[in-house]
């Protein structure tokens, strides 16, 4: 069974979407490790190491995603899980910015997939299946 670490990064306490993601991924047959809200980059990475996770799915709903996610790929490399899949989604930046630019920013930061506001988790699920080879 493939393992996915999920959580909400930074000083962000939006818990509802987090629960929906957990529910959906669990029902899709994944082992979901939910580290919850107010999680730091280190919390995600530590959980991923201990569980040998295949994917880290970061949620950010309060607009500070860019600051919170910066340097995460580098930390994964340092921690020995440099190849892990990193997804991010939610309201990851403030205001109505052009999503193509936003996506590029996060891709340059080392994220594997970036989702715009309002993406149903089912859309991401297709990508997960594809990326994890199931």
């Amino acid at each position: 069974m493939k393992t996915i670490v999920i959580g909400v990064i930074g000083a962000d306490v939006h818990a509802v979407g987090n629960k929906i993601i957990e529910y959906t991924l669990h029902n899709a047959g994944y082992h979901v490790v939910n580290i919850g809200v107010l999680s730091s980059q280190e919390d995600f990475i530590n959980a991923a190491i201990e569980t040998s996770a295949d994917l880290i799915l970061v949620s950010s709903l309060y607009g500070h995603g860019e600051i919170d996610c910066r340097g995460m790929r580098e930390k994964c490399v340092e921690a020995g899980i440099g190849d892990i899949l990193l997804y991010v989604g939610g309201n990851i930046v403030v205001g109505k910015q052009n999503f193509q630019d936003v996506s590029k920013t996060f891709m340059d930061m080392g994220f594997s997939r970036v989702y715009p506001p309002g993406t149903p988790i089912d859309n991401a699920l297709n990508d997960i299946r594809e990326d994890l080879g199931e």
């Binding site: 393992t3 000083a11 306490v13 107010l38 280190e42 919390d43 201990e50 040998s52 309060y62 020995g80």
Partner: protein, 460 residues
Amino acid sequence: MANYLLIDFGSTFTKLCAVDTKAEDIIETASYFTTVDTDITLGYHEALKRLFEKIGKTIEFEQVIACSSAAGGLKMAAIGLVEELTVEATKRVCLGAGAKVDLVFSHHLNKSEIKQIKDKKIDIVLLAGGADGGNSENVIYNAELLGKMGIKIPIIFAGNKSARDEIEEIFSKYEMDGYICENVMPKINVLNIDSAREKIREIFLDKIIEAKGIKKIEQDIDAVILPTPQAVLEAARLLSEGYLGEEGFGDLVVIDIGGATTDMYSICPPTKRSDVLLHGLEEPFAKRTVEGDLGMRYSAPGIIKSLSEQEIKFINKEKGVDIEKEVDARYKNVQSLPENEHDEFIDQFLAEMCAYRAMHRHVGRIEEVFTPMGKVFNQIGKDLTDIKYVIGTGGVVINSKDKESIMIRTTNILHNQAELRPTDPTFMVDQKYIMAAMGLLSKKDPELALKIMKKYIVRI
């Protein structure tokens, strides 16, 4: 009449406590130096002689049981994967089992770390890593290296269950003294203490006390049944929770300032507030921490090491002493007892420092986080603000003329809002030095142990 004799073989003193189960009271207590370096029975018989002298006659005991922290206590190495997760979990299990954690390692071990296990004469290794179904590569690698390097001391595997088969193969391939128990962290941030702790206790009783020359005492007594710190933890827990109709004290903290270590125990839930978010590895309800660098004799230099040069100068000027010289004298003569007011003053000061620092490391922290949703509280560790009782034990506290000044150092005297120290507890003292003995007694007759503790642990 049924009498019990309860013995604590400490690092410095062998302490005896005779209990009359019919009268539900202590008959008498006595102590003598621990003589484990020569023959542990010598010190025991000397202490017993003193006990009978105090009672005025020889009496028979129906049961004689002991706990021990003699000959360096139980020295363990805690090995996990990630520092904040399985490494922390293994550390907590060791401490909860009454061990001293002399070595802590994370990720892949290297040869120099394994050499330290040999050099420091570690008694037991607790090897974990990986949540169940998670990482098994790391723990297998570590077990393999321990085997290759010829580690023959007991090794307890308490890691990812999926790695168990490979670990068992490694244990038999290298003819290691291996044991298997449940994962200390089966899921992320979930702590599972009991299985590994029980295994540690078994090995301690089967092998370690034998190797340390303590087992010899079992010619003369019924059995050694616990490591001393675990006995104190059992006593603290009983005193807090109560037993059947006999009510306990509720949430409490015990501080035990000894010659080599300062032990801190808290018996309470991590928090009672609903408006905080708990972060990090789950906290045990009965939690023990040990500060190996804070103590009155062997570890007195550690107290000074935690100070800056400026602070030392300030203390020397303020108190009119040469604190480094005083500490050195205590370190060189660990059996010394205060002879005059000056000695007492220094011991008092050192004890206050131990209490302050030990609580600083034991207690949880809270921070306010400002989010777009408003202010939220993020807590790491245990919230002790609501603790009702702080109980002091250990020679220096019991003999101090100003116990309150030591005990108050566990509270928030510096008004550091981030530290969740006890706010306004009642201070109590284990005046007869019986907590370890009552931990032992609790294994036989918890109700009686509780009654006696409630009688002899008194307000200051």
